[in-house]
């Protein structure tokens, strides 16, 4: 059995080709944005490739159709698992492979028994009638795996694709999952295994393909490969460091303005850090490390289970963004559409929303003054189209939306500015100017904290980088230690002694 594909999806994935044999576990490694997800979305029929094809046992796979991939024997465990939370485990399993029926009626008992068997096969002892919502993240992963490994005589499994399946799993369940993957391969299934975690790759993969910036760098057998070599391959050689850093190497750090102690919230455990006025602090970490949750928990977007957040000595309660803002904190969420912009309101209204007091006179808002302020920010941040302050936010491009939302918070002159993925989905030009803004804001005394999956970005602007692993801050890099290679090594758990996968 052979599998070959060559796509030419612009930038996301360029002229990629790969062959996997039956019974092989093939790992795909790469940093965020290297094209791994694109690859999987192409295979599963989510995206249509611009060019190229996939062959399975000599037959051409119908790309761009999810059922086509299924019928040809491809099974997927997606990163977000793709389960329906409000349905039971039985129903989730049945949705893809069908239910046993008689006279067009689902035979519940058979379906349940079968689901129970499927679950036991992956080592889960759960009542199949449970709702997926009630399961722990690890159990959900198990259900998704059970679904992928389920036998379907009509379309026997030939290819199993797993996208970061261990992101939410504790160590001992990782072992179990890896054993199952191995067993599937031994049964003649071709496995494509995508992960950030090097040790897993070393444990189960026969071959590894490394992606960077959408380009396949190499495919080599795992045997005899050195861990450090692999990391260097993933992140690129040291010589490829990006442009000189914008920030001054050592912060003329003032007193700490933000102090977080003992913060726990969901997967976050006992996180403590501080940020001083004039300092840019980065938060790095792989998917599942809790990086993407930390700033939300600090600001009050998510509830905190315990811990305190102090701004200039004032305690900020959990889930009270208004109190945080009143005490000089600004927070730019990662998801523009969901959490950040009110797309149906105008740019002006978005800019002034967080604080309307300056525009108020005798209870009425002065639109003229709002417009003046919005216009000033449009010019300062060179938002395009120029002076379109009365257009709704949704009519702007992604980069300009982000500039408008930057303006919204910068206007408040916060003492602490928290940003999640500040330049995600933003083009290069806008990205550079947003970085410049952050640097000058810090120079004026703001404490800036950036959480980002973009290592280049962190290395570029941060004075200090905190590296998260499994819900905790595992390392801290400062001064010259802040580099693309340093951060990448840290997040992959290979910096200090490389032993970070202990439970």
């Amino acid at each position: 059995m052979g599998l070959a594909k060559s796509f030419a999806a612009v930038r996301a994935l360029v002229d990629f080709d790969l062959g996997i044999a039956a019974g092989e576990v093939h790992a795909v490694l790469g940093e965020n944005g290297s094209g791994k997800s694109t690859l999987i979305k192409l295979l599963s029929g989510f995206h249509q490739p611009d060019a190229g094809r996939v062959e399975l046992d000599g037959a051409r796979l119908d790309l761009g159709s999810t059922t086509g991939a299924y019928d040809m024997g491809c099974r997927f465990v997606h990163q977000d698992l793709g389960l329906i939370g409000s349905l039971s485990i039985v129903d989730n399993l049945g949705l893809s492979t069908g239910f046993p029926t008689r006279l067009a009626t689902v035979r519940d008992r058979d379906a349940r028994r079968q689901a129970g068997e499927d679950l036991r096969k992956v080592g889960l002892d759960l009542d199949p009638r449970m709702l997926v919502d009630r399961l722990s993240p690890a159990q959900r992963t198990g259900v998704a795996v059970a679904r992928a490994m389920r036998e379907d005589p009509a379309a026997p499994e030939k290819v199993l694709v797993l996208d970061e399946p261990t992101a939410t799993l504790p160590a001992h369940e990782v072992d179990h999952l890896l054993r199952m993957v191995k067993r599937a391969a031994n049964n003649g299934v071709a496995v494509l295994y995508v992960s950030h975690r090097l040790d897993e790759v070393f444990r189960i993969a026969d071959n590894v393909t490394v992606l960077r910036d959408g380009v396949k760098l190499t495919t080599t057998p795992v045997e005899g490969l050195d861990r450090r070599e692999l990391v260097n391959l993933m992140i690129g050689a040291e010589s490829e460091l990006p442009e000189a850093r914008v920030g001054p190497s050592a912060a003329a750090a003032g007193p700490p303005v933000l102090k977080v102690t003992g913060l726990s919230s969901g997967p976050l455990e006992d996180v403590a850090f501080a940020a001083a006025s004039g300092e840019i602090v980065g938060i790095a970490g792989i998917t599942g490390s809790g990086r993407d949750l930390l700033l939300g928990a600090v600001f009050g977007k998510r509830a905190r289970d315990s811990g305190t957040v102090e701004i200039g000595g004032v305690d900020i309660p959990s889930r009270r963004p208004d109190r945080a803002i009143a005490n000089g904190v600004a927070y730019l969420p990662a998801d523009r559409l969901q959490d950040s912009g009110v797309m149906t309101m105008t740019a002006r209204e978005n800019i002034t929303l967080a604080d309307l007091k300056p525009f108020q006179r005798a209870g009425s808002l002065s639109r003229r003054r709002e417009r003046k302020e919005a216009g000033r920010l449009f010019r300062e941040l060179s938002v395009r189209p120029r002076d379109a302050v009365e257009q709704t936010l949704e009519t702007f491009s992604g980069g300009n939306q982000q500039k408008v939302l930057f303006g919204k918070w910068l206007r408040l002159r916060p003492s602490v500015f928290l940003l999640d993925e500040p330049t995600q989905g933003v083009d290069v030009g806008a990205r550079a100017s947003l970085h410049q803004l952050l640097v000058s804001a810090a120079a004026e005394g703001m404490a800036v904290v950036i959480s980002s999956s973009d290592v280049d970005e962190l290395a570029f602007v941060c004075h200090r980088v905190l590296i998260m692993q499994e819900g905790r801050i595992a390392h801290e890099l400062a001064g010259d230690g802040v580099s693309v290679a340093g951060i990448s090594r840290g997040t992959l758990g290979t910096s200090e002694g490389g032993s970070s996968n202990d439970a």
Binding site: D322, P333, T344, A354, S364, P385, E390, Q391, S397
Partner: protein, 356 residues
């Protein structure tokens, strides 16, 4: 409704209702000049629709915040019956009777808010249940018998007094509209309501106390609809069934209104415009054909057409944005301020609280 409206240009889109209204007046004016095109018709349509319009206005406050209030009709009815019952059966003077009736509406709003915000029940369900409960309470109060209308001469003068040929209730409507317009368009409260309705998560993360505004909006709709009910009672008597019948027209007006003047936003003047477009059409058709089902038919069609139109507009505005590869500094070709549609058009919003 405005099928050929949007495509031509922006002005025609936004003001399509005005054109339609003018069209109604001209067509019916030509067909029935002696009965339709009279001052009397204008006066009677204006005051007949005043209560509907007030309910429409009551409704746009929670709608602005993205929350349905299906209890406004029942609330108005309860207030009307209470006002009459307090005066006729308990000899209460007019002003305290009115005050108590309106407070009843405010109390209903408070409970609606509690169920929505604290218990986390979807407002659609919460207020639907509340509407039924309120009807039951009305039955308890009235004993299923229509109370006699109060006899004090001032009671009917309260709404029927003539000002420039119009009944004074029309003036109340204008005053109410101006107040709500000021609140929604010119105060932080209005801005917060629209922000909550536009994107509750983003509003909360901008420091807006979203739950408080949802709660307040339901209190406002309860109070205003009770006021409308009291005025209805003074105008037409304490009917036991008028309220629920006015619910759908209020929704039709609010949604049709949200496609007018400030498209994409529930707005005061658009709502009033919608009420009177529909009323003019109905009156004209009635004079022409003298059938009785027109009112319901018109309102039903208008509600669906308005929402369909809004959804279509929204698609038209949003679609180009998905091709996000568009170069950063080109102006989006579809220069259309006030675009997107309240999330309501497609689906009821869920509880503003719990997000993980």
């Amino acid at each position: 409704m405005t099928l050929d409206g949007g495509r031509l240009n922006f002005g025609f889109d936004r003001f399509s209702g005005l054109y339609l209204w003018a069209l109604f007046i001209i067509v019916f004016g030509i067909l029935k000049p002696s009965t339709f095109l009279t001052l009397d018709t204008a006066h009677s349509v204006a005051s007949q629709q005043a209560i509907s319009a007030m309910l429409g206005l009551a409704l746009i406050v929670p709608l602005a915040a993205g929350v349905y209030d299906l209890s406004i009709g029942a609330t108005a009815n309860l207030a009307a019956v209470t006002a009459a019952w307090l005066q006729t059966n308990h000899g209460m003077p007019i002003l305290p009777a009115i005050a108590i009736s309106i407070l009843a509406g405010v109390a209903i709003g408070i409970v609606n808010g509690f169920v929505t915000v604290v218990l986390g029940v979807n407002p659609f369900i919460a207020t639907l249940g509340m509407a039924t409960i309120v009807s039951a309470v009305q039955n308890i109060v009235s004993g299923q018998e229509q109370p006699l209308p109060p006899t004090a001469p001032f009671w009917s003068k309260l709404t029927q007094h003539q000002v420039f040929g119009f009944q004074i209730v029309v003036l109340y409507l204008v005053v109410l509209a101006v107040i709500l317009w000021w609140v929604l368009d010119h105060t932080p409260a209005g801005r917060y309501l629209y922000a909550v309705g536009g994107n509750s998560d983003a509003a909360r993360l901008s420091g807006v106390r979203t739950q408080r505004w949802v709660w307040l909006s339901l209190i406002a709709s309860g109070g205003v609809s009770a006021l409308a009910g009291v005025l209805f009672c003074s105008l037409s008597g304490p009917s036991l069934t008028f309220g629920p019948a006015l619910l759908l027209p209020a929704f039709a007006a609010a949604f049709l209104g949200s496609t007018q003047l400030k498209p994409g936003r529930f707005n005061v003047w658009g709502t009033l415009l919608a009420v009177y477009i529909l009323a003019t059409g109905v009156r004209g058709m009635e004079l022409l054909t003298s059938v009785s089902w027109l009112n319901d038919m018109f309102n039903g069609v208008a509600l669906i057409a308005a929402v369909a139109f809004a959804v279509w507009r929204q698609d038209r505005v949003r679609h180009p944005r998905f091709g996000d590869a568009a170069p950063d500094d080109t102006a989006p070709g579809h220069g259309d301020p006030g675009s997107g549609e309240p999330s309501l058009a497609a689906s009821p919003r869920t509880d503003p609280g719990a997000s993980s």
